[in-house]
């Protein structure tokens, strides 16, 4: 290829990228109005939760996908962020700090918790690390459950209610916002805030992935001893992965508390950790678009099963044979198995992983041809 034609392709590539960005941008901007008017507010809430889960999945992806450290207690950081918001902006302590203080504080505190989890587990890998992190997640939940005596900090199993909705520049997102004769409903306002922060987290993750730090994470995943011999301080780099991943969880947690208005230890059980891990693995471990896809699918699919299975059963059998709630988990499990069987690298693996699998398949073809 001549230099000028390469330049030409580069220019067209750039044009395609710009066009795609504009189209996606417009789609994301009008999405809440389409869903809100077409499917109703309950789906808009689900959409908002999908954005929270995307943030969580991207955070966990740093630990599991990039650095290869299996973390089964990730939801603890979500809990830390959520409870920090609940304690600093609710009648519980009578504190009502602004959101731009709480969310960064939640990210920082969750990051500290991430380092606390990371420090004693530096020498562990794989199954052993999974067990310890699982324990950590449960410890945090049980603490939240029991820190109501002798001094009532977390209000125990009842949780904390009446949490302040998120305020931004004099507007509260809990009520429709009227600006210049245009009214933005509350759920829509939350959507734009969550979208902005999710995009910010995507941006940070992409930048980290293509950096010296990101390469060091992947190197540790691939071969820790070789990474050490290349001069990587594996202790610090692993702690950094735990801290960064946890801080994303802390941000999502704070937003969750402000959005929901209520937190209780119930919301942060092991199943939630597993769910976020499934998003990462199913979407395509280590690949940012894949993880985002995993977050969206695993938030929305169970809801489709929940809402859809009742009417479908009624239409086919004339009555509801299986409880939609039970069926939801059954179908979810089935979906997981099918994906793992047919797309073991995830639904949307990274190009390198795709190449890796393609390489293997050519080898298989060669073997088959022999």
């Amino acid at each position: 290829m001549t230099p000028s034609s390469t330049l030409e392709t580069l220019r067209t590539d750039k044009r395609i990228v710009i066009a795609a960005t504009v189209i996606i941008g417009i789609a994301l901007a009008v999405l809440p109005f389409i869903i809100g008017s077409g499917l109703g507010n309950s789906w808009l809430r689900i959409l908002n939760f999908a954005l929270l889960y995307i943030m969580l999945a991207l955070g966990l992806n740093i630990v599991v996908g990039f650095a290869g450290l299996l973390d089964l207690g990730y939801i603890a950081f979500y809990a830390v962020g959520a409870y920090l918001y609940a304690l600093l902006a609710s009648p519980h302590f009578g504190l009502h700090l602004p959101v731009w203080v709480i969310i960064p504080a939640g990210a920082a505190l969750a990051g500290i918790f991430g380092a606390l989890l990371g420090a004693p587990t530096l020498r562990l890998r794989g199954d052993y690390l999974a067990i310890v992190t699982l324990g950590f997640g449960e410890i945090v939940r049980i603490f939240l459950n029991n820190l109501n005596a002798p001094v009532n900090i977390t209000n125990g199993p009842q949780g904390i209610s009446g949490i302040d909705p998120i305020h931004l520049g004099g507007f509260t997102l809990a009520k429709p916002i009227s600006l210049l004769g245009f009214t933005l409903p509350s759920l829509h306002a939350y959507y734009y805030l969550f979208l902005a922060l999710a995009l910010f987290i995507v941006f940070v993750t992409i930048r980290l992935e293509n950096s010296r730090i990101g390469r060091a994470w992947v190197a540790i995943r691939e071969d820790e001893i070789a990474a050490k011999s290349c001069g990587i301080n594996t202790r610090n780099i692993k702690l950094l992965a735990f801290t960064m991943g946890a801080s994303f969880g802390g941000v999502a947690g704070g937003l969750f508390a402000g959005f929901q208005g209520f937190v209780s230890p119930e919301s942060f059980n092991l199943m939630e950790s597993v769910m976020v891990l499934c998003m990462v693995v199913l979407g395509g471990m280590g690949n940012i678009p894949g993880v985002i896809l995993g977050g969206i699918l695993l938030t929305i699919l169970p809801e489709i099963f929940r809402h859809g299975s009742g009417p479908v059963q009624l239409a086919i059998f004339g009555k509801i044979l299986l409880d939609p709630e039970a069926l939801r988990m059954l179908l979810f499990g089935l979906a997981l198995i099918v994906v793992m069987l047919y797309r073991p690298a995830g639904l949307w693996p990274s190009t390198t992983r795709r190449r890796e699998f393609r390489g293997d398949s050519t080898n298989d073809e060669l073997k088959a041809g022999e």
Binding site: F203, V204, R207, L208, N210, S211, R212, I213, G214, R215, A216, V218, A219, E222, D223, I225, A226, A227, K228, S229, C230, G231, I232, N233, T234, L240, M244, T352, R353, R355, E356, G359
Partner: protein, 256 residues
């Protein structure tokens, strides 16, 4: 001869009741190619692992370029300027050849999280320099055409070369190669030999573990022989080959 680069003083290493290294002392001079040979299980790789901080020695000390090496701190050893390859190749298999070498630059670069996220001028410049140096090194070891392939898809010989490129990326003063010619055919070994000689010409001291006696004798300035964890001989190749203890322990009573 020029000055001493590495001095090992009475290194001991035990694994339970098994002695891997006993009282091993050796001196490597600046700019030489130093061979370390010995029968299987003689303690060559153990010595490498102690040297590069992967093993904690039970006794003795290592002085490198005037500084005492801290045990159990491989990344500090790398920072001081010792790079290594592994007997059973240890590449980052699911990273490209290019990325593997870029990881080698880690220890000589500084960008942190904020630099990575903000992409300030210093970080972008550093990142460009990392990429440029990695390209140079891939060229240097002659695998530039495989830059975008996953390390695990490279041929065996290319993987060995890539590992050397990654080690060179850390700007080492001493390059420790653990059986680089293992499994290579005659042509590959010959070009490896050229590569090692080129590395020495660039001013990097080479420590070489190798089973290929012909390669060691032809390439090395001095050779030490380990047997059952003890150094039994250290001299120029021509004299090592004539040493009766070496002949008995290693060459099986006759020289090929």
């Amino acid at each position: 001869m020029s000055s001493t680069l590495l001095e090992a003083r009475a290194i001991d290493k035990h694994f339970g009741g098994v002695t891997a290294l006993r009282d091993v002392s050796l001196t490597i001079r600046q700019g030489e190619i130093y061979g370390l040979i010995g029968p299987n299980g003689a303690g060559k790789t153990s010595f490498f692992n102690v040297l590069t901080g992967l093993y904690h020695p039970d006794g003795g000390e290592l002085i490198f370029a005037g500084e005492k090496l801290q045990a159990s701190a491989p990344h500090k050893v790398a920072r001081l300027g010792i790079a290594r390859t592994f007997q059973n190749i240890r590449l980052f298999g699911n990273m490209t050849a290019m990325e593997n070498v870029m990881v080698g630059r880690h220890v000589r670069t500084h960008a942190g999280v904020f630099g990575a996220v903000l992409h300030d001028r210093r970080t972008t410049r550093e990142e460009a320099a990392i990429r440029r140096r990695a390209e140079e090194l891939l060229n240097y070891v002659n695998i530039a055409d495989r830059a975008d392939d996953l390390a695990r898809h490279l041929s065996y010989g290319d993987q060995r070369r890539l590992e050397i490129a990654r080690a060179l990326a850390t700007d080492p003063k001493l390059l420790a190669l653990d059986e680089p010619a293992a499994g290579m055919n005659g042509t590959e070994t010959a070009s490896l030999r050229e590569l090692i000689e080129g590395i020495r010409k660039d001013g990097i001291t080479v420590l070489l573990i190798e089973h290929d006696v012909k390669l060691v004798m032809g390439l090395c300035d001095r050779v030490a022989v380990l047997d059952y964890g003890e150094k039994i001989c250290e001299d120029v190749p021509s004299l090592v080959q004539k040493d009766p203890k070496v002949i008995e322990a290693y060459l099986g009573g006759s020289i090929a």
